[in-house]
Symmetry: C2
Subunit: 510 residues, 2 copies
């Protein structure tokens, strides 16, 4: 009992210790949180979104410093720390800045592998996280398929579905990118077999029913999902069978016999290699169609990322993606766009595939990361399976995270953050181009022009580049074998870009 | 801005409208929440855990009633409602009682498919859900493998690892049952291939590296996981390949060519079929070992549930499970115990496999549901892959849910809930046995004796039984083809059992 009373006492004075000021969760502090987000946004992209954000990085020890080293050794007793990059103190992190245990504060253009949308300790999200709806969603988590909460329709309509890609008005919710993709694959396979059987009204045959229980055809059909070389779509068994990023992701794990088509290897700068790149994309499309027509395990769907992110930040032109749409339509195969990393505003559009201006939408679009929840959007009613309990699991998503995504969407709209990433991205790209002209050996294949802040370049000394950046106060990640990838949050502004460009200049000239 | 101010104003007066009293989230209300959980627990299993819980169900309209019908029609526009059982109002639900939109209040012995541990709107969980640590975990969700938070070791040690099964001191965290099982499978495959290569220090061959990227052997090996007939282990591609519950779960989805062994079909009452059941278990064990020795895709691990839950509440004796441990040890195959549904106290032990008194622990134990988080426990350091980034994904779990699980564990300890399920389970089983003697045709194969409240029986009119129970104020679910399964929360007490038994008596005698 004493400990409970202590807990209550502590709650009364709860303070998130932020670098510059404090946010508390009682009513008074909620008002101050609201005040912090009430500034004039008339010239949104010059004036800081958060007036009290730190003015720049602060590095006072090697990273990891002595306190971090001690804590990492302790953590290693119970948790694999071999992939640990930095032990963070999130209570001291704010906006674009991530803090560690030694008092260091880094400008974070990695953002939890591209999954923090509107800044650490964002006051608007704090309001949502401490709301009565959130508390109820956390402690009364429903089995959504059986016992949805009375306001689930409203949570969907004012959140996840409010930002549904054009042409898609339904969603199946999931927990993370991997299961978002896998449930989309399941929908594709059910749709395909339903079509082959002659429609949704045709019953399963006794042979299908019997063989399905033994994992054998025809009940468990040998169909496939086609993905592209260097693509990344998750690491569970179905999604990993479509992932083609790195051997370390795939070695020793059984995989389905599913095909991969080549993804275009574009040459940069694009304006100097126009004809070559057109031909490269044509070659890849031809091969993709040949595989769809000929692969021994028939292709039910094609999955593709608008920008291959884990695989090295590989881009292709809108014409390429329109080509995939044409091929899939022509061959009666579904097109799934994996927007797990590209979605939610970072490319200067809410969804990266909006850049393609396709006449017909993809059949499904998957999302997660910055949404903090996950799922797949679809429009065609035939993608709802013909019977209940075919696409089902205990939780089927998470109302708590759906509420958080709604708050993220509101914050994106309030601060006009998609336009911000478009404008700030152009500014950032121009700055990097300037440095590239000075140091063409150090900054190669700069890419992502016109794609918001979704920018990358190759570095001949990539791993050293990433490591040295920390000492200059920049937390940045890589992708593929040699790419430095920029994944700043949506609240990354020109003054952050200046700090970043300054550091890059120092790194390449040292 | 106006809407933000309204939001703040609303937060100040936030009230969870509970049936009997109100819980609010400001400091004063937290004190009242604490007071609500401060009663004397000296005779814990007779006195109500929550003094202000409703005294019984209240049904005043058909279910669904008019308000629910209208809301379900609206929800159906954006969400598949064909598996909807009841549209719930969680703010009006409390303890063991679930509310709907029409003012009905049902005793809930289904509990969100066995996933609510300590009652709706549990005041202790409300404290955790409104704590500063929770707010930070929600709005600053880390990529745990790269940027764990500074207190992650402590959250694990005071929560998930505090209740680790005997002999297992490590955990890999996940989001739900399916990915908990699939990451355990991945660990098993990596372990197996590592062993075949000659140890953790042996590098991958160039051929393995190359073929893995094409989903071909030897890089993507044709190894398997063996499961048991009627088992349920999830619905993503790897887990679904081990699930053998119902065709509707598996039809049209590609599956790995993995084997199943027969699960014992025990006869009830057990004391009248001792020799037959011993022989049945022997037969199943022999066949399991034959498959392990002979299956064309070598078996890396065997997965088994302590009680097959989705598959119809099928039990086996401790001797059977000890037999699996012996077989797997003898054949150098791992044993994974799937405690997703059986874990966290409902069987009268914290982990159901404690009932077996095995000399050697399983190699891995998976969990989710009542834990509100998920993962697999292991002890053998060889199950940590030999290189980083082999078992990895963006979030790798969820600190917010880990904090909630810690609060659940504390609540289980505070109220001695494991002992409660043991004692209340015995009382409940005896009551059902009494009714069974009166109506042997209506209550068949009663099972789960000595297994806490993890009780089930077969009903010749199962679906009608479940539907009629609602009108009597009982929310209860089925499993398999004909089982009525009881999955009350851990706070289900004798006086709830009396209400339930009363309803069963009415149902079978009507």
């Amino acid at each position: 009992m004493a400990s409970l009373l202590r807990q209550v006492a502590r709650l009364r004075q709860f303070t998130l210790h932020l670098p510059v000021r404090s946010i508390t969760t009682n009513a008074q502090s909620r008002a101050s949180a609201a005040a912090a987000i009430a500034h004039d946004t008339s010239s949104p992209f010059e004036q800081p979104f958060f007036a009290d954000e730190p003015h720049g990085p602060r590095v006072s020890t090697p990273i990891p410093g002595p306190k971090s080293k001690k804590a990492i050794a302790e953590l290693n007793q119970v948790f694999d720390t071999r992939s640990l990059n930095m032990l963070a103190n999130y209570k001291q992190s704010y906006g674009n800045y991530i803090a560690d245990l030694d008092g260091n504060l880094l400008l974070d253009v990695y953002a939890q592998i591209a999954s923090i949308p509107v800044g650490y300790n964002n006051p608007s999200l704090l309001l949502a996280a401490t709301s009565p709806d959130m508390a109820s969603a956390l402690i009364n988590r429903p089995a959504l398929g059986n016992f949805p909460q009375h306001d689930w329709a409203s949570i969907l309509e004012t959140g996840i579905l409010k930002v549904a890609p054009r042409g898609l008005n339904q969603v199946f919710t999931a927990l993370a990118g991997s299961d978002a993709n896998e449930t989309a694959y399941k929908a594709a396979f059910m749709w395909r077999r339903q079509m082959e059987r002659g429609g949704a009204h045709v019953e399963f045959s006794p042979e299908e029913i019997e063989t399905s229980m033994n994992n054998q055809v025809p009940g468990s059909p040998q169909l496939s999902i086609m993905s592209f070389t260097s693509g990344f779509h998750g690491r569970l068994f179905g999604s990993l069978s479509t992932t083609r990023s790195k051997p370390i992701h795939k070695l020793d794990i059984p995989a389905f016999d599913w095909p991969q088509a080549p993804f275009p290897a574009l040459k940069y700068p694009l304006e100097e290699h126009v004809q070559e790149n057109v031909e490269e994309e044509k070659r890849c499309l031809e091969q993709a169609e040949r595989i769809i027509k000929e692969y021994h395990n028939p292709v039910a769907a094609v999955i593709v990322e608008p920008v291959q992110s884990e695989g090295g930040d590989n881009h292709a032109s809108p014409a390429f993606f329109k080509g995939i749409r044409e091929i899939t339509k022509r061959n009666n195969v579904l097109m799934i766009v994996d927007e797990v990393q590209t979605g939610i505003g970072a490319t200067g559009k809410f969804w990266a595939h909006e850049h393609w201006n396709m006449a017909q939408p993809p059949d499904m679009v998957t999302f997660s990361k910055k949404a903090q929840t996950a799922g797949y959007y679809f429009g065609n009613p035939a993608l709802r399976p013909n019977k209940p309990y075919r696409q089902f699991n205990t939780w089927m998503g998470d109302p708590a995270r759906a509420i958080l995504f709604r708050a993220i969407i509101n914050e994106i709209e309030r601060l006009n953050l998609v336009e911000n990433t478009a404008l700030t991205g152009d500014y950032l790209f121009n700055g990097l181009e300037r440095i590239q002209r000075q140091y063409p050996e150090q900054i190669q294949n700069l890419r992502g022009k016109g794609q918001g802040t979704f920018i990358a370049f190759d570095s001949p000394t990539r791993d050293a580049f990433l490591a040295k950046a920390k000492a200059l106060g920049i937390n940045i990640g890589g992708s593929g074998a040699k790419a430095v990838r920029l994944r700043p949050m949506l609240i990354f502004q020109k003054h952050h870009a200046d700090i970043f460009l300054d550091a890059v200049q120092k790194l390449v000239s040292s």
